[in-house]
């Protein structure tokens, strides 16, 4: 009998959620990065989660990041002839980062992270209580 698989499960969720936080940070940081071509513009990215059954622990599953994909959103073409990155016709290409959607995602990711930290704390507390049974 051990509470340790709970630490594995919650830990996997913490790392998955922090990957998600990283992608949001990357998207928001590059919201104003422009490119000379449509392909040269920054592409917003988003992770996909997948549940990862724990070996030797029936019914328990952690979570892992299956992959991090660029979102299928074409760059926004903007006419700014004076811009240093403008192409021959005076256009620049900005990534289609939706700051509102990113902030919503950020809140969801940090709540998920916090919930799993609470799980870790509860499991730790119970494991300590179990250790003191013989006292």
């Amino acid at each position: 009998m051990s509470s340790l698989p709970i630490f594995d499960v919650a830990g996997s969720a913490l790392s998955a959620q922090s990957v998600r936080l990283n992608t949001i940070a990357s998207n928001l940081a590059n919201a104003d990065t422009v490119g000379r071509t449509p392909d040269g513009a920054y592409k917003p990215i988003e992770p996909t989660f997948e549940s990862a059954p724990l070996r030797g622990q029936e019914g328990m599953s952690g979570v892992k990041v299956l992959r991090v994909d660029p979102l299928d959103k074409p760059a926004i073409k903007r006419y700014e002839p004076g811009h240093p990155m403008a192409d021959a016709e005076g256009y620049i290409y900005a990534p289609d980062v939706d700051p509102v959607a990113q902030m919503v995602n950020l809140i969801s990711a940090s709540r998920g992270y916090q919930a799993n930290v609470e799980v870790l704390n509860s499991a730790r507390e119970l494991a300590l209580a179990t250790l003191t049974i013989g006292r």
Binding site: A10, A16, G59, S61, N116, L126, L128
Partner: protein
């Protein structure tokens, strides 16, 4: 023969591993709260406790009794410990309250709310298990006919000290 010390820990000892299994299931749900298509799981505590009780009764009544009524399989066996394939019987898939776009049926609020009671209840259960484990009380503190006081788990009561009688 059933004696007073056959099962000194009572239901609490049975319930602790089950509470842990329930926490494991809930922690899996919370970890997968954002996984597309994940089906939330639930641990049927009542049925599991009953199964563990029945199992314990079978083991203690069986012919291969070892010392302390724990049977040949040891304490874990006697407690009907739900680890391993046996415990999967009590895990069910939870019905989603509202459908979600990605097919995930985890409701974070439900999981969070469900996480509280097992943690809170585990503290008194630990206390009940701890009391007989400490051995009989010295005569000065033993009081006839008084029920065991189970301290309530308070947020500030984290040191899990010994069970104390009220003054």
């Amino acid at each position: 023969m059933a004696g007073p010390f056959d099962n000194p820990f009572g239901l609490s000892a049975l319930s602790l591993p089950l509470r842990e299994q329930r926490l494991k299931v809930l922690s899996s749900n919370l970890a997968n709260a954002d996984t597309p298509g994940y089906q939330a799981q639930e641990f049927d505590f009542q049925r599991a406790l009953k199964g563990a009780e029945d199992h314990q009764r079978r083991v203690t009544a069986g012919p291969s009794r070892g010392p302390l009524g724990m049977g040949g399989g040891g304490a874990a066996e006697a407690m009907g410990l739900a680890d391993g394939p046996d415990f999967r019987r009590y895990v069910t898939t939870r019905q989603a309250l509202q459908p979600s776009l990605d097919g995930n049926t985890v409701n974070t609020e439900t999981e969070n709310a469900a996480f509280g009671p097992p943690v809170r209840e585990a503290h008194p259960a630990h206390a009940v298990v701890r009391a007989p484990a400490r051995g009989p009380m010295p005569p000065s503190t033993a009081q006839e006919g008084r029920p065991l006081r189970i301290p309530r788990a308070r947020p500030d009561d984290r040191d899990h000290g010994p069970v104390r009688e009220p003054p």
